[in-house]
């Protein structure tokens, strides 16, 4: 049964006894049309669009833990489409459009909140770069507003405008950017996919691939072999390890990214604000906590915790941008393992093994990509051809000299 205001009232009046689990807990079948490895946001979205857009009903999502245990439940929830390069921007804008219709499409409250994303700038050169980025955004159909100092002051009077070293000279504002409730995105896709017949199998780790004559025919799992005509892998921070099971080496390193939440405060932040002179981004959750983060720890790791120097660095960035943050107490912090690719951009592509498809390398920014990533990966798996907005996200782009290097940092994953 669908969720509605009427249903909430009815359940409230009858003691909330009518709610059922949001998705089934099926035994895996021996064979599927398509198997998606990884029950994070991207894997679940892929399964949903495979069913809804391409009419594939016999689909399974295999998740080694429980839904939402990976990066989908660990990120700082920022959604935006403010990229520069032609290989990226149309993709992220397509994602933004899907976010705008997501709750209706899924019949699930994902708390998508377009409260705006403001990137601060501190020099003429940075302002010019933002003007150029804003134009690239507008050309892809996105929205962008270049604010001067007074414009920023009106929006965020609490920022440190008198900073002698990094005075705020303006900002690039995307009013349609904002935040979404990360777990609810996974749950919403899971429920909607389940209702279209997708089997969501938790506690089912993929331990190998069934490759016969160079063609992928399915997967080995902790719950037995499962055959499939197509296999798509979307396992976020585990990409290198999982794809190594198929004999592939990826242009990816695993790094930890930390996130922080303060105690609940009254509303202070209008939207998301990012510091242009260092790496710091902050928003306020609906419960009032300031949710913030900054740089990676910068070395390969699979430990889902970070180290103190980065905690210090992130907090310094916060203090420099918004000194009032120093009064807030940090309640929680955690880390997530992200796939840092050699150019900072993702990969959605076929692999050299026929029938095996790969989606990964999302670095810091894959949450905002969840809807478009699922959409494009489903398109690729169903049709065999890349979706036009993801056509540049190729696996061989380093070999062909076509990297998508937003940051201009070169093949140095910890700098992207």
């Amino acid at each position: 049964m669908g969720y509605s205001a009427f249903r909430i009232v009815r359940e409230a009046l009858t003691g909330h006894r009518g709610w059922k689990p949001a998705w089934r807990d099926p035994e895996p079948k021996a064979e599927y049309d398509a198997v998606v490895v990884g029950g994070g946001g991207h894997g679940l979205a892929t399964a949903f669009y495979l069913a809804r857009e391409h009419g594939l009903a016999n689909v399974a999502v295999l998740e080694k833990g429980w839904l939402g245990s990976g990066n989908i439940g660990r990120n700082t929830t920022i959604i935006r489409s403010n990229y520069l390069l032609p290989g990226n921007q149309p993709f992220y804008e397509w994602s933004m459009k899907l976010w705008e219709g997501l709750e209706q499409a899924l019949n699930f409250n994902a708390m998508v909140s377009q409260r705006g994303v403001l990137n601060l700038c501190h020099s003429d050169a940075q302002r010019d770069a933002y003007a150029r980025r804003g134009n690239a955004m507008i050309m892809s159909g996105a929205d962008a507003v270049l604010l001067d100092r007074d414009g920023v002051r009106r929006m965020c009077p609490f920022l440190d405008f008198d900073n002698a070293r990094f005075p705020i000279t303006g900002g690039l504002w995307q009013p349609r950017g904002g935040t979404a409730r990360h777990d609810a995105v996974a749950w919403g896709y899971a429920r909607a996919a389940d209702r279209r017949g997708v089997d969501i199998v938790q506690n089912c780790e993929v331990t190998g691939f069934l490759i016969e004559g160079g063609v992928c025919r399915g997967v080995e799992t902790t719950r037995g072999p499962i055959r499939a005509r197509r296999v798509g892998v979307a396992v976020a921070g585990s990409s290198s390890r999982v794809m190594a099971l198929a004999g592939l080496r990826l242009p990816i390193e695993s790094h930890v990214l930390q996130a922080f939440v303060t105690e609940g405060l009254k509303p202070v932040l209008p939207g998301v604000v990012t510091y242009g002179a260092g790496h710091f981004y902050v928003s306020q959750s609906d419960k009032g906590g300031l949710v913030f983060g900054g740089d990676l720890d910068g070395y390969n790791t699979y430990a889902q915790r970070g180290n103190l120097p980065v905690v210090e660095d992130v907090c310094e960035g916060g203090m420099a941008m918004m000194p009032s943050i120093g009064r807030a107490r940090v309640l929680r912090m955690w880390g997530g393992v992200v796939d840092m690719s050699m150019d900072g951009s993702p990969i959605i592509d076929r692999t050299p093994v026929e029938g095996l498809f790969f989606n990964g390398g999302w670095c810091y920014g894959g949450f905002k990509a969840t809807p478009a990533s699922g959409w494009c990966f489903a398109h690729l798996m169903a049709t065999g051809d890349p979706h036009p907005v993801a056509a540049a996200m190729r696996l061989d782009r380093f070999r062909t000299g076509a990297p998508i290097d937003e940051r201009g940092a070169g093949p140095q994953p910890n700098l992207h």
Partner: protein, 95 residues
């Protein structure tokens, strides 16, 4: 994390910068016939293991030496620290 520098003793990682996989010391021969392929693999493809990993660290806020650090990527435990110079020399590189 503390890195036990072979010359200077235990130092906080905040003094260092990590460059990545120690394979970067082993730059392919640009004159080799398949140099294009080798450079692509050397620069872009990574083993990225969950467990023991050898990597280059630069002691920026110290003696500015390069180190080869062997570390467990699951636990942060550092197993071995060598001067990159010694590692390169042992392989017959450098002077």
């Amino acid at each position: 994390m503390i890195i036990d520098h072979p010359l200077l003793g235990p130092r906080d990682i905040a003094e260092f910068i990590c460059l990545g996989d120690a394979v970067l010391i082993e730059r392919p021969d640009p004159a080799a016939g398949d140099a294009m392929d080798r450079f692509h693999d050397w620069l872009h493809l990574r083993d990225n293991p969950a467990g023991e990993h050898r990597e280059l660290w630069y002691h920026e806020h110290g003696d500015r030496s390069w180190l080869v650090v062997t570390r467990d990527t699951l636990t942060h435990e550092i197993r071995r620290v060598e001067l990159a110079r010694d590692v390169a020399r042992a392989r017959g590189r450098g002077v």
